[in-house]
Structures are given as C-alpha cells and as structure tokens.
C-alpha cells in the first residue's frame, strides 16, 4: 500500500515533467492564429543521441489508422521539411526518429532551427524570409511582421470560398500553416495518440493527457511508469533524484524503449496491432524495398547492355539474376504494403507506378524466357528504374504514405481486379513503348531507310497484344464494377473514357498497319505515341483534367515534367521520322515498305540478331 502511494506520488511528479504536459491544453491541434504565434523561446537543450530502434515499433494512431512510430516520424518529417532527414549548417544530421524522439521525449526545442519547408517565393517575400533558404524556423515564420495579417486574410478566404479556389499564394500559405500546425502539435504532444483504446479496435486512441478518460489510474500506471523510465533513460537530468531512484536509477535507453513498447501492448493487447504487422511495417520503412529494386534494375540494365557483344554468357546470367532480384524485392515490398493496409497495392499514383514497374519487369522476364533476345531485358530495366525513380523522388506529388481509402474504393472485389488489370496493361504497353525507342533510337543514329531487325517489330507487337487484351479486359471489368456498384455500365467518366481512347488508339495503330498506312517503322512510332494515351489516362485525368468520379486522389504538381516528357518524346519521334525520310547519310534502301523488303535484306540493327542469341543462351 505504501509502495502504491509512493509510486502514485512519483507519477504525479512525472506528470509535471512530461513534455506533452508542459503545455496543458485542449486535445485538438492548434486552431487559432494566436496560439500559433505564441512562441516561448526556450533554452537550447543539449543534443542527446540515442538508439531509437526499439522505439520504432511503438504504435501510434494517426491519420485514420494505427502505425509504427517510425512511419509516423518519417511522414511527419517529410510533411514538415520535405526531407527524410535533416542536416544543418553546423554539421548536425538528424533522422526522422531522432527528430521526433528529441521533441517528444527530450522536449528539445526545434522552433529556432530551420525545419519547416517553404519554397514559394511569394510567401517567402511576404514573410520577409531568407529567399535563398528552402527551410525556415518555426520561430522566424510566426514572428514575421505580416504573419498574423496573412493568417486572418487566409481565414476570411477559406470561409467565403471553397479552399480549392484559393489562389496560388494562399494555397501555398495554407500548406505552410498546415505544416506549422503539425509542428506545434508534435511539439505540444497533442498529436501523439499512443494510448490505445481499451476494447474497440476502431476506437479513438488518447495521448497521455487524455489517458485517464480511457483507463483508471491503476490500469494506466504501468504504462506511465514505463514512460517515466524512458524519460530517465533519455536524460537523467529530466526528473528529480528521488523519483529517478524509485524508477530504478540509471537506465539503458534501448531497454527502456522496449519496456515502454511492451507496456503499451499489455495495456490493450487486442487493440494494438499484432507484433508481426508492426514488425513488417518497421522493416518495410527501414529497408525501403522500392529503392533497392531501383538499384537492381539499373544494374540489370547495365549488365545486359555492357555485355551486348562480349561476355554474353556472363551478362545474361547477371542480367537475369538482377532482374529477378528486382522483381522479388518489388514483390516483397508490395506484399508488405498489402499486409499492412489489407488491400490491393494500387490505390494511388505512387502504388500504381510501383505496380507498373513490377509488371514491366515481369512481362520482360516472361518474354525474355520465351525468346531469349535480350531486347526485352535491356529496354524494360531502365524504364522500370525510371518509373521507380519518379515514384521515389517526388514524395510530395506521389504520396507514399499508407492511408485509409475513400469509402468508394473500399471493400470491392471487382474494383480490385479492375484496377489491377488496367494498370498491369499499362506495363505491357510500357514494354512496347520501351522497345519502340530501341528502333527509333537506331533510326536516329543511322538515318535513311533503315531496316530494323524485323524480329524487333514482332517483339513490340507481342507486348502490345498483351496490353490490348489486358486493357480490354480491364475496361470491361471496370464496367462490371460500375454496374455492380451503381447499376450503371458505362458512364463516360473521364478515367474510363480515356482508357477507351487509349485502347482505340492502339487498335488504330494495329489496323493502320493492316490497311497499309504504315509498316514496321510506323508501327514502332505508334507504340511510342500510343503510350501518350496511357499517360493521359494514368496521370493526366487525375493531375491535369482533375475531374470525374473515378479519379480519386486528385493531385497536382509535376505537370511541367510530364509535359516536358511528352515534348521530348514527340521530338524524339520527329527526329526519327526526319532521319528516315528527309535527312539521311546513307543512300536509301528500296521503297517505303521496309518490312516487306526486309525479306530480301539481311540488314539488322544489332549485330548478332536473334538466332545467334538463342543458341548462345542456356
């Protein structure tokens, strides 16, 4: 009994010192402008480093789901600073866990460090900030002379208008305010919902401040005590001597973190996600399998390309191994996402890009296994790497976070199969697209009525066939979904209309070949240009048109890049056409019908050709 009283006393003292209790206040993120502006300059706490690996698996409820602290830390730091880790002028580097841990546990004051990203020249100018810097300190921003004035203006505008009608300046300012709110919410701990709901897996979790609404003093006691130990382990100076003694003196941080995590689980074992799930997500976050796959496919490309004429056998083995490695890693990464989120891995742009890269490699490997021509491997791998690079390098545009879906997208078998089929067809078209570049590139290099290795045309055709069949199935499955969900078969929604346009475009390319409007070269041009329809359907509808029912996850940004890419492609095709018909260094060989004439010619772009390859391969 005496012990209990003493511990409760100790806990009360701890409560006073708990960082998230410093600013005893409402449980909601800061809403009003005044609160944002009220910054108390604090003394710079000394930098303390710890091993956070045991704390990474602590579960926090945020953004509509339960996730490991590591995920939360990364997402938060990414939102705040647009970075995965922070590095400062004095040489200090802090990763996401280090940042979050130092704020939440150590109470370190980051308000004077350039953490908050702001890259809009207009807003920077209005706030009189350093125009060169991309990140600024919370303090500098909120104490800027015009900050309050802009806040009020923003409030007025959001009240009277739909927020998406805000102009560019206020849009950016609004995003900045969201980041400031997140910063403040982390600093005050009001966002740190780590106390699980006692019985409801769907219930709302609490912070330590709100824990007593969910649990009795006695129930919560072990968890609060574990937290006290964690504080002591973080920095013994944080609590007075006698409490430290009661908590067990000097402690090892990693051990305390583990105990803290276990205390959380013990509090509500049914509600906290299973250790396997948490472990999977932590591993997924730590390893970043998609980056690994990016490296693998680049290496696979290099291995195949560099051994095109020599060391073929070695190149084949290395290329195959690396490509299969990339596929394996991608599959593991996607499986992890499926396991974590409990749904198919194609619910936003980021996931579809990964899925298409995966499909691209799988198709390439399957065709490669069938034809042993190396063209599939050497063209698919760099394109897959490019896709992965795009997905990984623009986290603001392509949100890698796993978040709950909009209601329409949930729980539907047809939807899942429809989206999987349509997007995997993009992969087949992407393969035809990549192969098409091969022919066009050779055309640009050689000029004249070049006759490509005619098997290449057939390879492109093969890939396109798969794409057409899958896209047709996917579009029809979409109609089945629509009928199942709404009773409507076809709705002329932009997404479905564009998928139809893309399909018609490819059919146009195929039929034009039959009608004799173009031959093998025109067919390659079609394979390259046809992909513009896919791009429009995939990216354009969501990011450029921004309309329709099916385009969940509207986004913005990157339009410049995509338009640039399209222009580059058009120039590329244009260059090939010009080189073929108007500006060639070699005398033209025969008439226009390259494919037909090729029967009589043994000219191929790549030395060796298919037949030799197939003999050489195992």
């Amino acid at each position: 009994m005496k012990k209990l009283i003493r511990t409760i006393g100790a806990l009360l003292v701890i409560a006073v010192f708990l960082p998230d209790m410093r600013a005893e206040g409402p449980e909601v993120p800061v809403e009003d402008a005044e609160a944002l502006a009220e910054v108390e300059p604090q003394e710079e706490t000394e930098r303390i480093e710890h091993d956070y690996s045991n704390l990474e698996g602590l579960v926090i409820q945020h953004g509509g789901r339960q996730k490991p602290l590591l995920t939360f830390a990364r997402e938060s730091l990414l939102t705040l600073s647009g970075r995965r880790s922070l590095s400062f002028e004095d040489g200090e580097t802090v990763d996401a866990m280090g940042f979050l841990g130092s704020v939440w546990i150590g109470g370190r004051d980051w308000a004077h460090h350039p953490v908050v990203s702001l890259d809009h020249a207009g807003v920077k100018e209005a706030l009189d900030l350093d125009m060169e810097a991309r990140r600024h300190s919370y303090h500098d921003i909120v104490t800027a002379a015009r900050f309050m004035e802009l806040m009020e203006e923003l409030e007025q505008r959001t009240e009277t208008r739909e927020s998406d009608e805000l102009n560019d300046f206020y849009q950016n300012f609004n995003e900045l305010v969201q980041r400031l709110r997140l910063f403040r919410a982390i600093e005050r701990g009001v966002i740190m919902a780590v106390v699980p709901h006692p019985e409801d897996p769907e219930g709302t979790w609490a912070t330590f401040t709100g824990a007593r609404e969910l649990y009795s003093e006695e129930q919560i006691h072990p968890f609060v005590e574990a937290r006290g130990r964690l504080l002591v382990a973080y920095n013994p100076e944080m609590l007075p001597e006698e409490i430290r003694e009661q908590l067990g003196g000097d402690l090892d941080f990693a051990e305390a973190a583990l105990a803290f995590r276990e205390a959380q689980r013990a509090l509500s074992p049914e509600v906290v996600p299973s250790p396997a799930k948490v472990k999977t997500e932590v591993l997924y976050e730590r390893w970043n399998p998609f980056r690994l796959a990016l490296v693998f496919s680049l290496l696979a490309c290099l291995a195949t390309a560099l051994t095109w004429t020599a060391w073929k056998r070695f190149g084949a083995i290395a290329g195959w191994a690396l490509a299969l490695g990339a596929i394996l890693v991608l599959a593991l990464g996607m499986a992890a996402r499926v396991y974590i989120s409990g749904r198919a891995p194609v619910t936003n742009m980021y996931e579809t890009i990964i899925w298409v890269a995966f499909g691209l490699l799988v198709f390439a490997v399957i065709f490669e296994w069938r034809y042993r021509c190396r063209y599939y491997l050497v063209s698919a791998t760099p394109f897959a790497a490019l896709l992965l690079l795009v997905a990984e390098s623009a986290p603001v545009m392509f949100d890698p976070n796993i978040s709950p879906l909009t209601p329409v997208l949930r729980d539907n078998f047809w939807l899942t199969t429809h989206v999987l089929t349509v997007t995997i067809s993009y992969a087949a078209f992407a393969l035809a697209f990549a192969l098409g570049h091969f022919v066009l590139g050779a055309q640009i290099v050689r000029g004249g009525k070049m006759v490509a290795n005619r098997d290449l045309y057939a390879y492109i055709y093969r890939a396109m066939q798969v794409g057409i069949l899958l896209l047709a199935i996917g579009v029809i499955l979409g109609a089945v979904w629509a009928n199942y969900s709404w009773g409507r078969f076809w709705d002329w929604d932009p997404k479905e209309t564009w998928s139809l346009i893309a399909l018609l475009g490819y059919l146009f390319v195929l039929h034009g070949r039959l009608v004799g409007w173009w031959g093998g070269f025109g067919f390659c041009v079609g394979a390259v240009l046809g992909f513009k329809g896919i791009l429009m359907c995939w990216y354009g509808v969501n990011y450029i048109l921004g309309a329709g029912l099916q385009s969940y996850g509207f986004g913005s940004g990157g339009t410049g890049w995509v338009v640039g890419f399209v222009i580059f492609e058009l120039l590329f095709v244009g260059a090939a056409v010009v080189r073929r018909y108007y500006w060639f260094s070699e005398p033209g060989s025969g008439g226009r019908g390259d494919a037909g004439d090729a029967l009589n010619q043994r000219e191929t772009i790549a030395a060796g050709g298919v037949r030799e390859e197939s003999r050489a391969s195992p």
Partner: protein, 553 residues
C-alpha cells in the same frame, strides 16, 4: 530454343485479320454487281473503320475536356449522348457487320475476327437498349418521412395543360442548352397525340430562322440559375385576406429578414418560417403555445386588430410567453437570441405580389458559391400576333400565363418519374475511420414495397453494395431490376440520404457482348489454327506485308 522456333515464335497473329482481307477483296463476281454487296464492301472497308476510329477518339477526348471545364451533363448533352454520336455508333455497328460480311463464307481462321466484331455489335445494341428503356434518377429520402413513389431524373422537362385539359410533357433541356435573345427556344403547345413530321419540320425551321411561331407556343429567351424571388404585399380591396409585413433583424446573426404573411382562405401560407428556427403565424385568435401545437419551438402569433395594429404573443423555446400590442413602426425584442421585430405595415385586405429578378452573377462576388433559384424568362404567343409580357418563371412551380383570351398553365423542372414500387429510408448510418471524422462508409437501410404483389423487402445500400428491388439472382444478372446506390449525404443532417436509382434492361446484352469481345481478341492473338506455315509468312502477317497491302488498297 532452336532456330526455327525463334522465328516461328514471332507469331502469325495478324493472319486472322490480314488474310481475310485478301479473301474479302477476292469476292465473287455476282456479289460485286449487286448494290447490296457494293454497299457492304464500301462500309466494310478498313479505311472507313479508320476514319470512324479517328472521330471517336477525338470526340471522346474533347468530351473529357468539356467535362473538366464544365460538367458531366454538358459533356453528355453535346457529345456522348448527342444524336450525332449515337449515329456514329450505329455507323460503327454497320461497319463492323459489313466488315464481317465481306469475309463470307467464313472459314475457321475468321473465328476471332468475326467473334470480336459480333461482340462489339452486341455490346452497342445493349447500350442502345439501355439508353432507350432504362431509367436513371435520384431520390432524396429522410428517416421517418414515409415511402417515396417517384424519382427525380437529371433531365429537365416542361409540363403544360393542353386546351383539352390533359397534361402534356415535353423535353426542356434549358440547363444544357440555354436559350438566349439571339436564339430563343420555342415550345409549341401541340396537343396532337401522334408525332407530326410536317409540324416538327416547321418547328425546326421556325427555331432556325427565329420566326414568330404560327401556332400557340411558349417562347423562352433566357435561362438563369441565379434568380431571386421577392414576395411583397399590395393592397387589394375585396380579397378579404388581411396581411402583415414585419422586419426581423439581428446584429448577432448579422442579418435582416422581411417576413410577409397573408391570411389566405383557405389558409395555406399564413405563416413565415425562419429557417426552421422559429415560426411566425397569422392567427384569428391568440392561443397558448401548447394549444398552437408548437411546444418547444419559438413561436410568434400575430393577430391584426383592424386598426393598423397587431396583438402579439411571443413564446421562446422554453415556453416563456409574452403578449402585447404593437403599432406600425414599433419594435419588439422577441427573446429569440437578439432578434428584434419591427412592424412595418398591416394590410386590411391584401394580395401577394411576386417579383423575380436575376442577381448579377457575372460582375458580382465570386465568393458566393450558392446559387439562387433556377428559372427561364419567356412569354406566351398565340401565333396570331397576341402575346403576353415577358417574365421569369421559376422551376418547380406551377405558372399561369395569359395572352389574348387564352390562359395556359405550365411548370418545368427536373422530370419526376414514378417508380413501380415505393421505397422508404428507415435508417442511415455513417461509420467513421478510427480516431477521425472521416466517413468510412455510408449505409442506407431501405424498405421496398410493391403495391401490386404486396412484396416487402428490406435491403441496405452501402458504398459499392447497392440495394436491389425486385431482388433475385436472375434479375441481377439480366438487369431487370432497380439498383439503389448511395449518391449524397449531408454531414449536418444524418437522417437524410440521397440514393441514385438505376434500371438498365440492356445489361445482359452488354455483359454477353463484353465476354464475346474478350474471347474474340484472345482468339485473334493467341489461337493459331494454321501451324504449318513457312516462317517468313509468320513475320509478314505480324507486320502486314507489301503483298497484303497491295491487295487492300
């Protein structure tokens, strides 16, 4: 893999498509001479199909841009559901059929090609059946409001009572194709039962050259979704109806509201409802709030005393009542928040006067997203020179217009369509994501009753899981049923749910057509009826050889 395989594997897909082409052009002499076969060859040519492709692609692309710029309804009206687009699809059907006929007699190798074309034709026929015989609309339901018997469609229609006393319905798509002074819309008050070809030509001619109609017609020259209606009172001795005009103002709510009440007999509008917060009633006798049946709701009873004053009784939500007499121009604290009431004028005998005007939306504040009333401006013309004054007519109201000695009653708005059964909302549930206010789904529990068979079914309409009536697997399969899916919800009113209703009898054909298309494409690409060919042929047909092309062109 051995050498021959490597070449053979660059398959022969196009044979099924390319080879028939050669056969097609080698048609027998008898066929070439007959007019029908010439037609079939003309429409079955691949070049024709290519042009159809191009137009379809461009039209669809333009449609999506329209949808992005304006809205889905506009895109449908001008492109996807426009007559010319339908015509284009019919043309596509004919081309597909003709292309298949040019290959007669069909051989084994034609299988994939014929099957695919057949599939597309079946699908398109299904789509047209769905368009013609299917229906689509929405129903706004409230828990406890009882069963609904109608749905509201997206199309606008105009109803008028003909001289024979019957009600006529005409399509009236003013929201999609708004009339203007330069091109007004004419709705002839045509009461003939059968469609009259000559009359419709004349109508088109009249509209095209903007002539004065020669028959009784309603003419409209403006459409607006930004109208405001102001109701005031004017003295009308002999009407027998007393009226009162009051002004309510509140600095807290930052507003002023003018309440106009007229004692009409039979009384149908003798009260003013302040957005459901309070009610002002014109009465013959002041009653206690309990008697007035408004227990709990703030209520103001007004009784004109015949001398330009009113007796009043004001009750707040707690039932506190205050009574007194008010002179014109005098004010009174209502006790409802800080609302103050001023008596403007008492009319011994009065009549409503309705005024409609257009709020200038273009130059005005773009910050006002809310729209006003929807209406059209127009007049009645009799075709003999007599016409009524132009004025605004509001959607959803029955309007009366008079010219010469003729009186016409009409109304317009979104067309309502009766359902062959009733539907009632008994529960609406919005589960949320853990720890947030984001809706995780919507579930409307609906009860369907068929008055003919007495069948009663309870079903739920959730996201991606629509309710269906009449139920049954074969009905779901054939589309011979009505599907109810969740369309809208009101975050502030969780008893309200808007469901979308869809009935599509073409579904089975669309479904079969889709399966056939997939099977056809698969056969073309992956089933090879002829295996013993020279490897060169394989490549030729994959790419379309010179010889092939000569045959085609």
């Amino acid at each position: 893999m051995s050498e021959p395989t490597a070449v053979e594997e660059t398959k022969t897909e196009a044979r099924q498509v390319a080879a028939p082409r050669m056969k097609g052009s080698r048609s027998s002499g008898g066929r070439d001479r007959s007019l029908m076969w010439r037609f079939i060859h003309l429409f079955g040519s691949l070049k024709m199909a290519m042009w159809l492709f191009v137009v379809l692609i461009v039209a669809c692309a333009v449609g999506t841009v329209y949808e992005s710029r304006f809205d889905a309804q506009i895109a449908r009206y001008y492109i996807y559901e426009a007559p010319w687009f339908t015509l284009w699809l019919i043309l596509l059907c004919i081309t597909l059929a003709c292309a298949a006929f040019t290959r007669l007699p069909w051989k084994k190798r034609h299988t994939g090609f014929v099957v695919t074309h057949l599939g597309i034709i079946v699908l398109l026929i299904g789509a047209m059946i769905g368009r013609h015989f299917g229906t689509e609309g929405s129903i706004t339901l409230r828990v406890g409001e009882g069963p609904a018997r109608h749905m509201v469609t997206q199309e606008m229609a105009l109803n008028f009572w003909g001289s024979d006393g019957d009600l006529y319905l005409v399509s009236f798509p003013v929201n999609l194709n708004p009339p203007s002074e330069r091109s007004p819309h004419t709705v002839p008050l045509d009461t003939s039962d059968r469609p009259n070809v000559a009359a419709s030509f004349q109508r088109a001619y009249t509209n095209l050259f903007r002539l004065e109609p020669r028959e009784p017609a309603l003419v409209f020259d403006r459409f607006s979704e930004n109208l405001e209606e102001e109701i005031s009172l004017i003295e009308q001795p002999g009407s027998g109806n007393p009226g009162v005009q009051l002004t309510l103002s509140s600095s807290m709510m930052g507003g002023e509201e003018i309440a106009v009440i007229l004692q009409e007999r039979p009384a149908n509008r003798s009260f003013h409802n302040m957005e459901g917060l309070a009610q002002i009633v014109l009465v013959d006798r002041i009653q206690s709030p309990e008697e007035a049946g408004q227990g709990g709701m703030p209520l103001l009873q007004v009784l004109p005393d015949g001398n330009g004053r009113i007796e009043y009784s004001v009750a707040d939500s707690g039932g506190e009542t205050e009574e007194g007499v008010l002179e014109a121009g005098e004010s009174l604290e209502t006790g409802w928040a800080d609302w103050t009431l001023t008596l403007d004028k008492v009319y011994a005998e009065a009549e409503y006067r309705q005024e409609v005007y257009e709020v200038n939306g273009s130059s005005g504040d773009a910050r006002v997203p809310e729209r006003g009333l929807t209406g059209v401006r127009g007049w009645l013309t009799l075709g003999d020179g007599s016409r009524s004054e132009p004025r605004w007519f509001i959607a959803g109201e029955t309007e009366t217009v008079q010219a010469g000695g003729e009186v016409v009653r009409f109304g317009f708005g979104n067309r309502r369509e009766p359902l062959p059964f009733t539907v009632e909302l008994i529960d609406f549930d919005v589960p949320r994501d853990p720890g947030t206010e984001n809706p995780a789904g919507f579930v409307s529990t609906l009860v369907f009753r068929d008055p003919d068979t007495g069948e009663e079914v309870t079903d739920t309409a959730g996201m991606n899981h629509p309710a269906m009536f009449p139920p049954g697997f074969h009905r779901a399969l054939t589309g011979n049923t009505y599907k109810f899916s969740q369309a809208h919800w009101e975050p502030d009113d969780l008893n309200l749910s808007v469901v979308q209703v869809l009935h599509d009898p073409g579904w089975l054909l669309k479904w079969i057509g889709s399966l056939i298309i997939i099977a056809g494409i698969f056969i073309i690409f992956y089933v090879r009826p002829y295996r013993n060919r020279r490897p060169e042929d394989a490549i030729d047909e994959a790419l379309g050889s010179k010889k092939d092309r000569e045959k085609v062109s």
